[in-house]
């Protein structure tokens, strides 16, 4: 007999060997009626199985990710050098409280604020330039253009490359010497060798001057680096959006056409709002990609000025020949907190939707 009584009221807890709520225990949160009924229909074996399947990954997640975060926070309260005992009286010797954080925020470590700025710029560029371009490409490719498969392949090809490889490819473009870098080489040839242009007084001189630009060494080097990331990101977003557009109800489009909407109005008033779930996914992916930025900057110049990012600061402080584990942990915690903000926002949004 299905037991609808309250013995099965407890929600699944990690690692527990089955629901343990006592009958009628008012302190135990009770699931809504439908969930309780479903839960109680499971056999005991089912319940154990379910608990294990959810419990084990949950345990690993808590231990490895959240546990690491807690340990990271504890390390960031010390100036531990990675050698020697950390234990012995809580955090042991060299506990320095929030000194790492004050050093970061008050400018003692001048690279921190540049790194924050660069991370924010990366996020803004990906969100407001790269992703819209990807969406635009998806909308264009969604129409029945000839040779669409070719275009799709061309735009998607950078996505299969690792960011490190993309960094190497773009170094060949950005090298400042005209006989080493493709961009400066092209500009040089136009400014010095191209028959018509080179003789134009202003334009020719402009090409000759620009052909010596130090793309990834100048103070604005973050922009060319983000463009290299965009090259990949655009294809990624394009494919995601294209998949969403393929499952878009054509009846809505026909309705819009009957109402006399042009392509732009159709997109912004009909397609975009209906694609809300995909939009959310794309926003989350863009945020994650931006906060994860590391490979390109590290490959380009090891994360030195002018390409420092929070992630390269962590690497260069805690993982390489430097040994400032405590300091690096502080930077890592700041990056983790910054990353949590959009994720938590996303979760709140989706949970709010589910309740509806």
């Amino acid at each position: 007999m299905a037991d609808n009584e309250a013995t099965t009221a407890a929600p699944v807890e990690p690692g527990s060997s089955g629901p343990a709520g006592a009958a009628g225990d008012s302190s135990v949160k009770r699931l809504p009626f439908r969930a309780r009924r479903r839960w109680s229909l499971l056999t005991r074996r089912d319940k154990i199985t379910l608990a294990l399947i959810v419990g084990i990954p949950l345990f690993l997640d808590v231990a490895l990710i959240w546990g690491s975060l807690v340990v990271d926070f504890l390390w960031s309260l010390t100036d531990w050098r990675g050698v020697g005992d950390l234990t012995g009286g809580g955090l042991g010797h060299r506990a320095i409280g929030l000194q790492n954080y004050t050093q970061l925020f008050d400018g003692t470590y001048p690279f921190f604020w540049s790194a924050v700025l660069h991370n924010l710029f990366w996020l803004a560029f990906l969100m407001f330039v790269a992703t819209p371009i990807g969406i635009l490409l998806a909308v264009i490719l969604d129409g029945q253009i000839k040779g669409m498969a070719i275009y799709r392949t061309v735009f998607y090809l950078p996505v299969v490359l690792s960011l490190a490889l993309i960094g190497i490819i773009w170094q060949l473009q950005y090298a400042p010497d005209w006989n080493r870098g493709f961009i400066n080489g092209t500009l040089h040839v136009i400014g010095y060798d191209l028959p018509l242009v080179k003789d134009l007084p202003l334009v020719g001189q402009w090409f000759r001057d620009v052909s010596t630009t130090d793309w990834v060494g100048g103070p604005l080097a973050i922009i060319p680096t983000v463009i290299a990331a965009t090259w990949r990101h655009v294809g990624y977003i394009c494919i995601l959006y294209l998949a969403g557009l393929k499952s878009f109800d054509p009846a809505l489009r026909e309705a819009a056409a009957i109402d006399g909407a042009n392509a732009r109005q159709t997109f912004f008033r009909v397609v975009f709002p209906v694609m809300r779930p995909i939009n959310i996914v794309i926003i989350v992916i863009t945020t994650i990609e931006a906060l994860r930025a590391f490979d390109l900057a590290y490959i380009t110049n090891g994360g030195r000025s002018p390409l420092e990012l929070l992630s390269t600061l962590i690497t260069n402080n805690a993982i390489s020949e430097s040994d400032r584990i405590g300091f690096g942990s502080a930077i890592a915690l700041i990056l983790a907190v910054v990353s949590l903000v959009p994720i938590v926002g996303f979760l709140i949004m989706t949970m709010r939707e589910e309740k509806q």
Binding site: T43, D46, I53, F111, V216, G217, S305, R324
Partner: protein
């Protein structure tokens, strides 16, 4: 029970296969939890402490002697030595293999296992490597980098090796460079090179340049090179460290060896007017530097010297680029001169950066107890000129520090390097070896110097105050 299951299946809308899904999911989860343990076991079994070994080469000759006695190098030596090397580029790796072969030929009872790790990886992971299971003998650098790790107990003192015949082969300058703060010797030097200004004599002869001996003559020459459409001073500072050589030499000339060493150790302040003077002098030279240095790797900059578009470069590694050129006449057309005198009292020291690479005996190697005698004999061998010359013949940018190295085997350039180092009364090790790696790292002094090169006209007082504040924040 069965009826209940059936009813559960029917009630939940025909998902009778849920049980199957749960079963398979459980197996999958169990497999996933087991897999990391298996992988961890594989990792600990396969790896010693070498983080990512790009290749592992074993060099051993002859039968391993059955005799278990370990005797000093005069008697028949037997045993095993594990050898960790960071010389991952093709030419140095082969040269080192030749050195190892020479040792094992002379001592057939000894097996030397070489483990070569990529150069940058080796340095980046040195802390975890040394504290886990390092090889017996490893390559490393002298200076602060050596002393810091000795202070943490990662290396074994080798005074007895220096007490042997090898010790007589070195001047006091080398001995000092290999001594740690406790007064004991920890390193055997293997190769060194001098930071001097490199140029192509054929280009200079064609344009009528002469070697400048004073700073003013140097600036005049650079100005003339600019009008002749050459880049006067080449620089590729993408890796951050090449610019440090420039700071070092200007500081040595302006303020002397003692001030420079004290500044590196933190006993002098970066806000001192003497340091302001260094940056002021450097600023006056910057108009002659190659533009776009921060985005250019040094290999591309030395390619400019090879292609006769650059006039001169303060970087000894250009010899590697020239040696790698297809035209053998290129290496013959390379020469250098010491950085010019600034007209201060410190010119007499003729000081320069001469970083020493060497080999050290670790203390946490798992085989150390059994291998000690063989390892020490190997170190003694590495300290002799015979071993070092094998390497210096292949790696023509370096020279052997031992006195008994057969100088007749050197190229003309290497002979000049021996002369310039012998002539120097004071030798320093280069900024990233003389000072705290936390200070001299990628987001440390390297970043500050890139910032200075990009904005030479910034307020030097504020700039140096930033550097000093950063140094102070590093604590000990």
């Amino acid at each position: 029970m069965d009826e209940q299951e059936k009813r559960a299946g029917l009630l939940s809308g025909g998902q009778v296969s849920r049980r199957e899904v749960l079963k398979k999911g459980l197996i999958g989860a169990a497999g996933l939890t087991v897999l990391p343990a298996v992988l961890a076991a594989c990792n600990t079994a396969a790896a010693t402490a070498t983080p990512t070994a790009s290749t592992a080469a074993t060099a051993s000759t002859g039968p391993t002697a059955s005799s278990a006695s370990v005797a000093p190098s005069t008697a028949a030596l037997s045993g095993k030595v594990t050898f960790g090397s960071n010389l991952s580029d093709a030419v140095p790796k082969q040269a080192l293999a030749a050195v190892v072969t020479a040792f094992t030929t002379a001592n057939p009872g000894v097996t030397v296992t070489v483990n070569t790790v990529d150069h940058t990886t080796f340095q980046n992971q040195i802390s975890s490597y040394l504290s886990a299971t390092p090889e017996d003998v490893i390559s490393w650098f002298s200076g602060f980098r050596m002393r810091a790790f000795v202070a943490q107990g990662f290396f074994t003192a080798i005074d007895d090796v220096w007490a042997g015949p090898m010790g007589a082969l070195y001047t006091d300058a080398y001995k000092t460079a290999c001594t740690a703060d406790d007064g004991k010797l920890y390193m055997v030097p293997f190769d060194t090179y001098a930071w001097a200004v490199y140029y192509r004599p054929s280009v200079w002869a064609a344009k009528g340049y002469t070697i400048p001996t004073t700073l003013d003559a140097f600036k005049t020459l650079a100005a003339k090179m600019k009008t002749d459409n050459l880049v006067p001073i080449g620089l590729g500072d993408k890796d951050g460290w090449p610019a440090m050589g420039h700071f070092d030499i200007i500081n040595l000339r302006e303020n002397g060896y003692q001030f420079h060493v004290d500044l590196m150790a933190g006993k002098q302040k970066w806000t001192d007017p003497k340091v302001v003077q260094v940056f002021t002098v450097w600023k006056s030279l910057l108009p002659f530097y190659q533009t776009g240095a921060a985005g250019r790797i040094w290999q591309d900059a030395s390619a400019g010297l090879l292609a006769k578009t650059t006039g001169m470069m303060l970087q000894p590694q250009v010899a590697e680029t020239f040696a790698g050129s297809k035209d053998p006449a290129d290496l013959a057309d390379l020469d250098f001169f010491p950085w010019p005198n600034h007209g201060t009292q410190w010119d007499a020291e003729a000081a320069l950066d001469a970083p020493i690479d060497g080999y050290m005996l670790t203390s946490k190697s798992p085989n150390l107890a059994a291998d000690t005698a063989a390892a020490k004999a190997f170190l003694a061998f590495l300290g002799t000129g015979a071993a070092q010359i094998i390497y210096a013949k292949a790696e023509v940018a370096d020279i052997a520090p031992a006195k008994d190295a057969d100088a007749s085997q050197y190229t003309a350039l290497q002979k000049k390097q021996v002369a310039i180092i012998a002539n120097a009364k004071k030798l320093t090790q280069f900024m990233d070896r003389d000072t705290n790696p936390n200070f001299a790292g990628a987001n440390g002094m390297q970043g500050f110097l890139i910032d200075f090169l990009a904005n030479p006209n910034q307020d030097l007082t504020a700039y140096l105050a930033k550097i000093q504040k950063f140094w102070d924040s590093l604590g000990s």
